[in-house]
Amino acid sequence: MGDDPVGLLDVLLGLAVVAGAATALTARRRMGAVVSFLVLGVLLAVLWSRLGAPDVALAEAAIGTGVTGALFVDAVTRGPPAARPPGAVPGAVPGAGARAGVSGALAAVLLGAGLGTAFAGAAGAGAAPGGLTGQVLGRMDVAGVEHPVSAVLLNFRSYDTLLEVVVLFVAVLSVTATLGEERPRHPAPAARAATLVWFCRVMAPVLVLVAAWVLFAGSDRPGGAFQSGAVLAGALILMDTAGLGPGPDHGRLLRVALVVGPAAFLVVAAGGLVAEGEWLALDPVWAGGLIVAVETLLALSIGVALTVVFLALGRGRVSPP
């Protein structure tokens, strides 16, 4: 697909993505920037599926646009009112003057041109197309899962995934550190709108079901722990917005749920060393079961981690661990 001449659809999609990014970056008001960013997220999800990457499209929609979008909208709408920089237009973005615009645009064009030639050079002469595709597809029989991307994530390059889950855990630690000693003041759970409570009671179980389906689909088609974690985070955030979320006394439960994913990964890593002589080694016989077990706990930890980050942003109801 890579080297046939570019089609109309690709040109339109590329231009739409660049236009969306330009709007998001140069919007005059914060809310406008965030809305454009959400539109850009949707366009990117379409772009990834167009480039033959369904896993990435699913992750972009669930995490890149879903959770990140929720974080941005919450930051813009619930921020302290005075925080919005005073300007003629409420929420005007300072520094968006004409002179800055021209020099910024010039710099962007130059940088873009430079990067463009670099990328074209890399993809051009003598590049090694396909990279490790053959290696991965050749070893799928002992990988424990049928879907190549899940096999790479949780078996061939599982060390990267372990470090990445630690990055998410570190994010939760940093976020809860800024809350300081005093527990966030829990606003008395105001009577939530009846429709919201009803909607949450109906949708939360459905969302958890979708999260479970996405998780277990990951072994033979696009899906997996990260996308399922994001859907789970959506369910938990919805429950919290409707006032049904975990209360302050669930702090310890949340803390355990956060740690259980990476902890299981470390236990499997040590088990691999003891059994096979190398860290993270998975015996082909046990690989399938171990991967699904670790992936389930990972999805739980990722879902809770994303929710705690969201709640800490709004000094949410729950007392983050």
Binding site: R29, S36, R192, M203
Partner: protein
Amino acid sequence: MTAGLLLELLSAVLVVAGTGFFTVGTLGLVRLPDLRTRLHALTKADNLGLGLVVLGLVLQAGSAGAAAKLLVVWFLAMPASAVVAHLMSRGGGLSAAGSAADGPGTPGEGGSGGG
């Protein structure tokens, strides 16, 4: 006119009609003055648009499972947009009292930079 071609044609017509409704919805979002009229335009046009697009794709869906999943997308989207529209029309009413941050009638802040 083999059945396959007919199916192909029908789903194309449905999808195009769906996108037509989306365009009308977006036009409503841009042109209409205040929050409630915009919500009115969005929820009606977009839901219908999504329904038509989904039906068009269901005709092309390979297996029954894929068709079922497409319909689930629509069934999840409809209540979500209805409830969100309801809450927003009560003035950003997370709580029952409806803290009138933006209050009905004044143009909502959002939607200015629509893509």
